[in-house]
Amino acid sequence: MRLWLVFKLLLHPIRFAQARIDAWVMARVKRQPGPIPVPRTRVYIVPTRFGYGYAFMGLVMLLGSMNYSNSMGFLLTFLLGALGLVCMHHTHGNLVNVQLRSGKTAPVFAGEVAHFEILVDNPAPAQRYSFSLAWPKETQPPVMADVPARGTATLRIALPAERRGWLPARVFSLSTEFPLGLFHAWTWAELDMACLVYPKPATAGRMPPSASGAIGQMPSNIAGQDEFAGLRNYHRGDPMKSVHWKSLPKSPGAPMVKQFTELLDQELWLEWDSLGDLDPESRLSQLTRWVLDMEDRQHAYGLRLPGIELKPGRGEIHQNDCLRELALYKPG
């Protein structure tokens, strides 16, 4: 076992060192709400493969200079050596004393890709360059950004959302190889942020059953969005959707608003129990599809899950409430 470790050390010294440091650090990374400061003690640094190549080149140059007793050769060789050491401090400094905060995260449907927004603050008076953000063992290219002096950079990092529910952000690394690419400095952090993942909508086709009674067709006086009932003057607070754009050029000062009367269907319930032929996840997928469809058609709808009931309604807030319940529902 120990022999195997030695073998690995010889074969891939960089990967070996990095893996050991990572294992040590990962066990100690705490999930924090943020902001997470990155002090000196939390920045780790190893040479990159280019760093080793550079060192090898320096060695060859040193041997050459010795062989030819070439003073200028020595001078250049030592300059490159010193440059490498100075670069190490630059790379390290580039990462030290930043601060990580969580940004916005928009909900997604299962099967889509969630984007976590992570904010990198630079409180120092010097600009920082070429930060990359990645989940561990990620093969796709990392997200890169610069952080201006006393400013903030926003990095959006993608994570596939496979299942409904809360998708917590994982531990991620913030790293940099700037300025010369000879050293890789990185830190691990875990921000307490999560993305809400809605169930994957079922394929269209199945219509919601009109649960109780016929869909009422009598026009009412309640202002709704179902049936066009004429134009009126614009009042503050009217939704942009209802502005009658076609008439705007005729009376630029006074926009008109389309008026609708709502076709009331007080009893359109999207019900868990009506989908008895499906397994629980498929039921949630089907209900999600219906919520989206009804919202699309501007029908009012209610949602009934065992133990949960959302009164019929419409609009983005209502839809999000419904989807949230579907995302977080724990069957039986």
Partner: protein, 658 residues
């Protein structure tokens, strides 16, 4: 379906910068390459430039392979081999240009940039003059700036930014560089042998002397070595710098016999005064070193020896500048006892050459009993008969000495020493030819002499009973000024001198500038180029470091210290200033400003009440001081105050005029 050829890794701007820096690194090599390769390198750069500008496709792999194979073949055809220094550099340059045609990943780009550093190094194998130090810094800064740029893959950084950062990094690295240069243990090279074509193309003394050799050598103004005398400075007539000694004559050229190169120092009686001096010799590709006639064998540099004709030998060819310190004794008795084998060699003459000279020698021998008298008679002949000292002697036939002594009578030092030595041997006096330099030009700025190829000289040595080998310079009999005042004085009237040796007119300005330049060069040679194991150890002893072990310890400790300081300074740049500290500093600034107007904060007075008092007493300052006090208190006592307030406070205080 054909796979799409991936395009460049770099963006266009960075790519153009990369091509520019590569051109900068390559351009100084172009003159020393074969014409076809210079053209190929230039064409490759141009092609790449067009690919970048016009968004052409990169050449397919088979085309690159073809180009690589053809270049290898071309280099083999031009140099006859692909190893060695010159073909190596040629290959390196071709490779860097071909690599430019294949830059699809970060790895390709990094390799190309590293290659540039390496090409920069090879330049110093050809030249290490002062200006190359500037070139080194320029190129190193440019390449580093480029490396910074390619490590910012998203987009090219502003040119000014990368140039400033690149040169700044190089400047920060300089202290450690110099420390390593001084203290890194130097070991005497070479490690694995040096290719025969190493170093720049050179002229200088050669290992034989034929008529015309030295007179063509003096047409060059190349520096042979520089000398610094420590205390006593010998007069010009004693400044004979002993070089290759020749004891074998084949009728045309003088050469060294196998006997003369044995490592067997003949005994010599060294008489006072002693002259101590330091020589920095330029590379000349011969195995000999130069020394003032004659050096003390105990002071010879490491790994050198004194051969059987009292010639200081290096043991290997001198291909780099070397510095050594010697003690010489102009008064000496050299080899009082002449071994029979040496006597035989130094009396031998080729059969059937120069019958008239042989007859003359026999006549002299018959007229004068003592060898000294024979020598005097021969010198008198040179002085009294119409011999001319000239740089343009007429050509000589098969019997070169006869032709010279009896027909042309026009010659340079090699003619005189050759004829004289021949004459002596024919008269039964052991004699040999010594080549080297005579004189040297004092530099008015420095305390050193510059000895150049224009000072090349040849003279004779004869062996006399109980006196040993005695120097006889027949040229001095013909042209005494040559010895006392140097070549340019001796030949001034003849109009034969090359331009750099002519005097008068505006030349004193040129002479002055030349002297300054020479002085700078000598300092450069002394402190940078000749800095090797001996000089290093000498310097270390002077500052109290006795062996290389303590040298390494001093190096490690000092380098770590400097690096630590650099690290701290860099870290400070990336550390936000703490609000409290900045607030206190700025507030003190405010206090100083107000004090000028006679307003002082009392010891027990807080910032707030002080501001109120100022507002009461000096209303025109009131609002500004109140505002400053407000920000000051926030910065100082409010946890989580934004750093932007620091700037605001500074501005408010700056605006207060008292």
């Amino acid at each position: 379906m054909k796979a799409a050829i991936p395009s460049d890794y770099l963006n266009q701007t960075s790519l153009l910068r990369l091509i520019a820096v590569l051109a900068l690194v390559l351009v100084v090599h172009l003159p020393s390459l074969p014409a076809w390769e210079s053209a190929l390198v230039a064409a490759g750069l141009g092609w790449r430039l067009l690919i970048a500008l016009r968004q052409w496709k990169l050449p397919p792999p088979w085309l690159r392979t073809c180009l690589a194979v053809l270049s290898f073949a071309g280099i083999y055809a031009s140099y006859g081999r692909i190893h060695g220094q010159l073909p190596g550099i040629a290959l390196l340059m071709i490779m860097s240009v071909l690599k430019l045609l294949e830059m699809r990943s970060r790895r390709d780009v990094m390799v190309t940039v590293f290659l540039m550093y390496f090409i920069l190094l090879t330049h110093f194998l050809n030249s290490q003059e002062i200006w190359t130090a500037g070139y080194l810094l320029l190129c190193a800064s440019a390449i580093t700036a480029l490396l910074i740029d390619v490590n910012h893959p998203a987009e090219a950084l502003p040119l000014r930014n990368i140039l400033v950062s690149g040169s700044r990094m190089v400047a920060i690295s300089l202290p450690i560089t110099l420390l390593f240069f001084l203290l890194f243990p130097r070991i005497p090279g070479p490690l694995w042998g040096i290719p025969s074509d190493a170093g720049a193309a050179l002229s200088g003394m050669s290992n034989e002397m034929a008529p015309g050799d030295i007179s063509s050598l003096i047409m060059s103004n190349r520096q042979a070595f520089s000398v610094r005398f420590f205390d006593r400075e010998p007069p010009p007539r004693e400044r004979y710098w002993r070089g290759p000694v020749f004891d074998s004559f084949d009728g045309r050229a003088w050469k060294a016999s196998s006997l003369s190169l044995r490592i067997q120092t003949p005994e010599a009686e060294l008489l006072p005064p002693a002259v101590r001096y330091e020589i920095i010799v330029e590379p000349h590709r011969g195995p000999w070193l130069f020394a003032l006639d004659v050096p003390d064998p105990t002071t010879r540099p490491d790994k050198s020896f004194i051969a059987s004709e009292y010639q200081l030998m290096k043991g290997r060819d001198v291909i780099t500048r070397e510095l050594y310190v010697l003690t010489s004794h102009p008064n000496h008795v050299l080899q009082k006892e002449l071994p029979e084998s040496v006597r035989r060699v130094n009396l031998s003459l080729p059969r059937g050459f120069n019958p008239r000279t042989v007859a003359l020698a026999q006549q002299l021998q018959a007229e004068h009993a003592a060898p000294e008298a024979v020598i005097r008679a021969a010198l008198r002949m040179f002085r009294q008969q119409p011999f001319v000292y000239t740089l343009q002697p007429p050509p000589l036939g098969r019997n070169s000495v006869d032709d010279f002594l009896f027909e042309t009578r026009r010659g340079f030092c090699e003619h005189y020493s050759s004829a004289f030595t021949f004459l002596m041997r024919a008269a039964g006096i052991p004699a040999r030819v010594v080549t080297g330099y005579q004189g040297g030009e004092r530099n008015e700025l420095g305390d050193f002499f510059r000895v150049s190829d224009a000072d090349a000289h040849a003279w004779s040595e004869v062996w006399l009973e109980s006196k040993g080998w005695v120097r006889v310079d027949p040229t001095a009999a013909v042209a005494p000024n040559r010895i006392e005042l140097g070549l340019s004085e001796a030949m001034q009237a003849s109009g034969e001198l090359p331009g750099f040796l002519q005097r008068g007119g505006w030349n004193w300005i040129r002479d002055n500038l030349t002297a300054q330049w020479d002085w700078m060069n000598t300092q450069w040679n002394r402190w940078v180029l000749a800095y090797g194991p001996e000089v290093q150890m000498d310097l270390m002893r002077r500052i109290g470091i006795q062996d290389w072990r303590s040298m390494v310890i001093v190096l490690t400790v000092t380098a770590s210290l400097i690096l630590g300081i650099i690290g701290l300074l860099l870290l400070r740049q990336f550390t936000p200033a703490r609000n409290q500290e900045v607030a206190v500093r700025l507030w003190a600034q405010l206090q100083r400003r107000l004090l000028r107007a006679g307003i002082a904060q009392r010891p027990a007075e807080g910032a707030g009440s002080f501001a109120e008092r100022v507002a009461l007493e000096t209303p025109e300052l009131g609002s500004a001081v109140r505002r400053a006090a407000g920000i000051y208190q926030q910065l100082r006592y409010l946890e989580g105050a934004t750093p932007a307030l620091q700037k605001e406070l500074a501005q408010v205080i700056k605006a207060i005029r008292t």
